[in-house]
Every structure is written in C-alpha cells, then in structure tokens.
Symmetry: D2
Subunit: 152 residues, 4 copies
C-alpha cells in the first residue's frame, strides 16, 4: 500500500533536519545530534551531562522531554512542510543517569488532515526504555527550510 | 474543610524548594528561580534566552516543559516526602519569544494514595497563557531534603 | 478584556447543545443530561447505573470518560462552529459508585487558531473530585447545528 | 532476556479476563468480547451500534475509549494481581462508523514498580487506525479474580 520511500525523500528529510538543528539553539546546547532521518521518522542522540541532572541526581525530565520533542519535530517536518508541536505527553519508566547515552526514536502514527501523531521511545545505551513520548503536531503553511524543496 | 496552612508548613515547603533548586543543575542552567512555594503549590520564573530557542526561532518546547516540570516537582515535594514524576503532558497554546519572562504556577489537584495530580499554567509577562501542563507524581519512601523535617 | 457574554450567545449555546444531545445516542443511552451551557462552557449530569460498572464493581472509566467527553463536545461547539475532538486525557482520582450523581464541568482554556483546549472536572454529588479530563479540539468547516445561527 | 510465556500463564490470563468480563457490566452492555489474552496483552472486539453514535453520526469517543480502556484493564490484570487504571489518554485519528467492527490491541510497555504503562491501538475491520490509547495503571494488593491463582 505504502509507496517505497525514494532517495530524494530521504535526502530532503536529512536536509531539513540538518537545517533545523543548525537553527535549534536549545537542542545544540544539550549536545543533541542526528543519527538518522527519513520521511516521518527521526532518531537522535544525547549524552546525559552533569548540568542536566535534577535534585534527585538523575537526568531532569525536561532534558529527556527536550530530546524526545526534537526527535518529534524533525520527524514531523521531514516532508519540509512547516509543522509545529501543539503538545505532547511523556511517561518516565526508568531513571537516566549522568553519562548515559540516550536515543530518541520518533515514528509517525497518523496524519489526519493538518494534524499528526508521533510516538517517540527514549532508550539508554543498553536499550533499556527510559521514557515514552507521544507528540501532537499541526501543519501550518510554508516550508520548514525555505528552498530545500518538496517531494510533491 | 481544609485546615489553614501553618507558617511551619510554608517554611518547610520553602526549605525543601531551596534545597531542591540548589541540587537541580538543569533548572539552574536555565536560570529558573523560585517566586513562591507553599504546601502543594509552587510558582517559578524563567526568562527565555537565545540559547533556548528552536528552529522556528521561538522558545523550544523542552525549555517550557522543564520550567513546568520543575514547578510540579517543587509542588509535589513541598511536604518533604520524597516524590518523583511518573509523567506529564503539555499543551502549547501560544509561542514564547526570546526575552519573554515566563511564570509557571503549579497547583495540586488530587493526592490519591501514593499518586498525585498537579496542574501547571505557564504564562508570559503580560499574563498570556503559553502552555498548560499536567503532571503525575508517585511518592516513594524517605524525605526529599534529609533532616528538613516533616509536618506530621 | 473579554466582551460580556450576550443573551443571544447563551441562547445559541443552549440551542446547539440541545440539538447535539438529541442526535447523541451514546450520551442519551447513559442518561446524560444538560445542566448549563454558555459560550466555551458546559455542565452535564449523569447518574451511575448498575450497567455502567466494571469488574471492580465501581463505575467503568469509559462511562466517566463519555460524560466528560460529551461536556467537552458541547463546550467546544457552543459557538455553533463545527468542532471535533482530536483527543483527550483523563486522570481518575477517586472511584465513582453505583448511584452516584456525577457532574462534568467543561471550561475553555485556549483557542489557538483552529485548535482548542478544554478542561473538564468530574465530581460526585458531594463535590468530591472523581476525574480530571483535558480535551483537544479541532474546528472544521460548517455549523454544528445547521441554521441555528452564528454570533458573528 | 524475557522468559518464554508458559501455558499456565496464558491460561491464568484467560481465566482472569473471562472473570473480569463476567463482572464488567459496561463492557458487556457495549457488546465487547475477548479475542485473545496473554500476560501483558489483550485483544478485544466491539461492533459499533447505532446507540453508540454521537451528534456527528459517528461512533462516540466514549465508546472507543471504553473498548480501549477494557483492553488495557484486561492486559494489566493478566497476572491476576489486582491493578487499577489511574488514567489514560486517547488520540482519535479516523472516525468509526456504525457497523464498523473495532479491535483494540493492548500491549505492555513498562512495569516500573507498582506502576504500569500500556499502549492500545484501535483499528477497524480493514486494519485502518481509529485511535491510539495510552493507559497508566497502579497495582494494589490482592488478586483480581480471587482463587484463580498466581504464576509466582
């Protein structure tokens, strides 16, 4: 049913993600980097630093949320159609510790009209689940990265 | 129905919040400060800095979530009973811009057993709503700030 | 800042809610009735019947959700602009028992563009909180109840 | 890492689900039936009836939530350790129509301590996604179905 993803679509998704990260001061200040992007999908990485800990000496939920939220943003903008987050929910299932290398993997669940639903799983270097995020997006007008192109 | 809050309970809540913030590297790195705390309640402030922006040049949802999550954490630990976040959801209703001074006000909704439910409203300097957060907490054993005391 | 609500706006909200309930077989089968509606607001009632209980012999979460969801639907359609639910979350804080008379009070939190955010508090006959619901709406084209009018 | 599921564990999950459904008046009044259960998993079915429609003449969100919530309840009680729902969120991605045969498939995501996180996907007879539900559970003391046994 689903058309195979073309090389051009993957290249566009990569171009958009790189353009977004270059402008995303918050993600860069947390050391977030791109592992893989394709249409409707993004995988990002972040190493938990001492300045991301909370009063329990574990990674602050806000840092984990930021990683998941950025993966969600890169996934839902992967078609280069400007899309914003209307919200998200996160469930923390295991603490992340300083030095842990976290991966956030965002997957598209549905695109009803201008809305979108994405799931993001955050795991540590051993594959252990740290958090489950679900993001809700809203497509606005325009391109995410001007001039990068559009698959249709 | 509700007992009036005693001065001792407010002092304990303040002591706990100050102790938590002193150990909370993430909140301090974002310049988050305490405005007011009392039992089941916390109000925090954060000025949106350039290094908190996302690729749309507005405040990253992760920075707003972190502010709300910290207000939630201070509110649900205000009795000095160690309590962790099991999760939260956030809805973004208006963008926050660089230079905006955000306030997060956390209010307790319910404390069924070891669980807790808190609402946090994030507003800007003009009182405009920026985001609505709802946090879910889980009380573990022990004190949040060892030796600070316990109202009962 | 907010314009006072006119009598016409309240009448329109009532007309729409009555028109919706007349067509809403699920709400009627649960015995849900309208207590009060006005722009951005709805209050509904439902008595917990034996056929709404779950295996723990308390009111099924689905019945409580249905009551809250209908209050949300009536509130977000109160301007007679056709609006659908894109989703909602609910937190159960106290069990409801057979015979309890539940009230769901829906309040508008924000209307960013075509999206909307509504909070619904469900309480029992003694005012005790049973559940907190947060609904997300999306405005489509057309009127909710054709010909009922539109305030602007 | 995960032990293979034993026949006894599956039989216990089935016994518990059948015992729960026998007592669950709300699920039975909506015609919900069990397709498959095993540890941490449940799949239920429901045909959308005319008395489940809302004012838009599509299936009421409350009926879809009830189906998902029951699948979640059967999955999180599948070990016969009494577990209640503390809450859940649902995102509706496509309308369900009268006559549609819906399936809700509940899968365990995490069991941190007494808490649990479950995802439920609701699809129609053609496999089209209708809604995505995420449930949060809390384990209390005792067995779900007294005397049915316990795997450990």
């Amino acid at each position: 049913m689903t058309e195979p993803t073309s090389t051009n679509e993957i290249k566009l998704a990569e171009l958009v993600a790189q353009g977004m990260l270059a402008q995303d001061a918050m993600s860069r200040s947390l050391g977030i980097s791109i592992v893989e992007v394709r249409p409707g999908y993004a995988r990002l990485k972040m190493t938990v630093r001492a300045d991301m800990s909370n009063s329990h000496s574990i990674c602050h939920g806000g840092a984990i949320f930021t990683l998941a939220d950025s993966a969600f943003a890169f996934a839902c903008n992967s078609y280069n159609r400007s899309t914003v987050a209307s919200g998200g929910s996160i469930d923390f299932v295991s603490p992340a510790r300083i030095g842990d290398e976290l991966t956030a993997e965002a997957t598209e669940r549905a695109l009803p009209g201008r809305l979108g639903l994405y799931d993001v799983a955050v795991t540590d270097q051993s594959g252990r689940p740290i958090a489950f995020f679900r993001g809700r997006s809203y497509r606005v007008t325009g391109e995410t990265v001007a001039g990068a192109g559009n698959p249709q």
